[in-house]
Amino acid sequence: MTLMGTLVTGAIVCYLAGALAALLGNDRWGRILGAWGAASGAAISLSLGMVALASGSVFSAVFDFPSLTGFALRIDGLSAPFLILTGLVGAASSVYGAGYSAAYTGVYSLRKLGALFNLLLLTLTLQVMADNALTFLLLWEAMSLVAYLLVLTEHREPATVRAANWYLAITHVGFAALLAMFFLLSAGDLSTAFDTLRANAPVPTQRNAIFILALLGFSAKAGLIPLHVWLPMAHPVAPSHVSALLSGVVIKMGVYGFCRIVLDLMSGGPAWWGGLALALGVASALFGVLYALMEHDLKRLLAYHSVENIGIIFIGIGAGLMFQSYGLMSLAALGFVAALYHTINHACFKGLLFLGAGSVLHATHTRNMEEMGGLIKKMPRTALMFLIGAASISALPPLNGFASEWLIFQTLLGGSHIPEPAVALMIPIAVALLALSGGLAMACFVKAFGITFLAIARSPAAEKAHEAPLSMQAGMGILGLACIGLGLTPFFVVPVLGRALAGLDRLAWETTVFSLTLPLNTPATFGSMSSPLLAAGLLILLGLIPLALWVIGANRRTRVGDTWGCGRIAQTPRMQYTATAFAEPLRRVFAELYRPTKDLSIDFHPESKYFVQSIEYQSEIHPWFEKLLYQPLIGIFHRIADRVRWIQAGWLGLYLTYMLVGLIALLVLAWWTP
């Protein structure tokens, strides 16, 4: 067996062993061994991806397992980045989960959790290797179901069940679309190898249908607007290390699938494909961050940010597709590289943030930011990790979010090369909206970090918070380091990703475009940025400033006193700015989009209305366009369900009759058709 074959087998064995250990072991050992299995499996996935990338486009191995007929696996340059992010986030969250899931002991089944966690990692690892439609679809469904069961971990909470049902429904809408798409693509034979599909191109009308179906199916998984509704429901209710995996990896499978089908198998299409993907991406980026801003549930806030970042990734992909259709190949490659880079980056920082949020949840038993505060003193390491994640997702230099967003901006600036002015004019609008969502994301994470970790504790629970156990800190540490590392090495990451993509033979890749020199130069030296130099410069300046203070002999005395509050007698947590108040200006600015409901009730004193006894103010924001879209659909389903209810009588004889009738009908059909 080759090295990669060994690694694949090793990963499968590790995951399966982990799942078995979790199932068979007791609460303590099962949890720990299951986590070990998952962590070592994920480490192997990671190294698998690295080996695939390092060996470059040359290596592509086909694994056929005779016992599983029709099951085909293959690793190429497009799979490798996704293997890496699965491995990174998987390893971190399994280490973290070892400590985190201890809180479930005696409440919910740890065995199921451990086993399913391993299985999810297994399906994710295999998913990106699938080399024919059958394998792809089987793994896709398995992954969706395992994820569904994991979301259901806290199954005694009604909100959890509701969220899981939404997830199941939407993911199956997506699955149906994918099924239809693959039938069209492979002309009915699902076991045709992808290589054959790559060679024979379908007719244009079919191609358009395939593209629409692929977009529908994969955006349901990725959480692109308008199929994003399950994200903010399912991610918060899942255990936090599972949320990290859901948000970091599972939704990325949508990105993977989209790239695999549209770029690899179909080799791009007309410009409107890219334009549609770009438009959906921009809409997702903006709406995701706008709703995140209004959210006070820490994990829901993060989930909405996943919508935003998936949007950013699709902006890159859409731009790439557009450039490809206009024959601007190096720009197209740049778009895809930027999208892939952002995919990995988002997996790292969003995984980190979910793990951080999990630690907060672990310590305070609440997800409501209004009840937190002052946690930086109680859990300094978690706070530091969350801060790194927050800075990365806000695209602050020199961390990883900045590197990939900068690359996406540079790609979009290439839009001026598009020959049609009407199309080219859309690009600056996309640039502006992307910039707006970047700025809003910064605002949102100032809120998320500031309200959660800074100032005074807002509730007794937050006052009694404690630092997370070592395993959880280690899990966060892995991703924190990854965020810094990926941020400092774009000069290395970008060429590697570019080479891997070039291996697909779909994008002409000029190897000279990205050289391995320190600054990152884009085609035609459009802009340059060097995050290692930037980081070094910032560090040097940070050291020089205190030195300068010392040289000029500045007063170093510091006295600790009360917070200044215009001389008021005492400070209470209620005097602080709340998350709601913090986001209020932006809510007013975007009131048209939010359409908040307001409910003000004032209790007057019976004697005179100049004396108020109590004031109650309630304001809620319901995503109105979701209602507009989903309410009619749900209504239709209800009506259909009402109509066909009589079929279900709950009487065994009737069901047996149904089966018999079905069987006869099938036989007749088989007899009639030649």
């Binding site: 005395r557 006295r559 006193g561 009360d562 200044w564 215009c566 001389g567 008021r568 007698i569």
Partner: protein, 170 residues
């Protein structure tokens, strides 16, 4: 445009400060180091400890073009954290005792206190009221008293400059 033609026709109206000085009473000698440090740039925080607001009206006059305290490098600041000098008016009422002390504590060292108006020294017409704690120096250490009910802006300015030991030569 009318605004700017008016600006041009009015010109500079700031009056030079002469050296009077009976209204200013030095309560404590300021250390030479403080004088040297705060000599040219002073942030002033105004604290109304319970005055009738007569003194405040005069203090507001300080920022007008006629008196223009900015020419001496003085300015009013928004927070005691930024301040070097507290300008306290009125007798200290019971409600303002703690806030006054807190303001004093919130001001970083070195700092100066100028008490403005007769009330600040003697409690004036409010003397003996049940709502009054006492003069300003009963609560925080005072460097300079400025007499008058209310004192003129130029007297207040002289008081501030006396605290800094920067009065124009006689």
């Amino acid at each position: 445009m009318r605004l700017f033609s008016k600006i041009l026709s009015v010109g500079i109206v700031t009056e030079p400060l002469d050296n009077g000085g009976e209204e200013v009473e030095l309560a404590r000698q300021v250390a030479a180091k403080t004088q040297k440090l705060l000599g040219r740039a002073v942030g002033i925080r105004e604290v109304d400890a319970g005055s009738c607001n007569g003194c405040e009206i005069e203090i507001t006059g300080l920022t007008s073009p006629i008196y223009d305290l900015e020419r001496f490098g003085l300015c009013f600041v928004a927070s005691p954290r930024h301040a070097d000098m507290l300008l306290v008016t009125g007798p200290v009422t019971r409600n303002m005792e703690v806030p006054l002390r807190k303001t004093y504590e919130a001001t970083p060292d070195p700092k100066l206190v100028v008490a403005v108006g007769d009330c600040a020294k003697t409690c004036g017409v409010f003397q003996g009221s049940y709502a009054v704690v006492g003069s300003v120096d009963a609560v925080i250490p005072v460097d300079v008293f400025v007499h008058g009910c209310p004192p003129e802006p130029s007297d207040i300015l002289r008081g501030i400059l006396a605290a800094l030991d920067r009065l124009p030569p006689k």
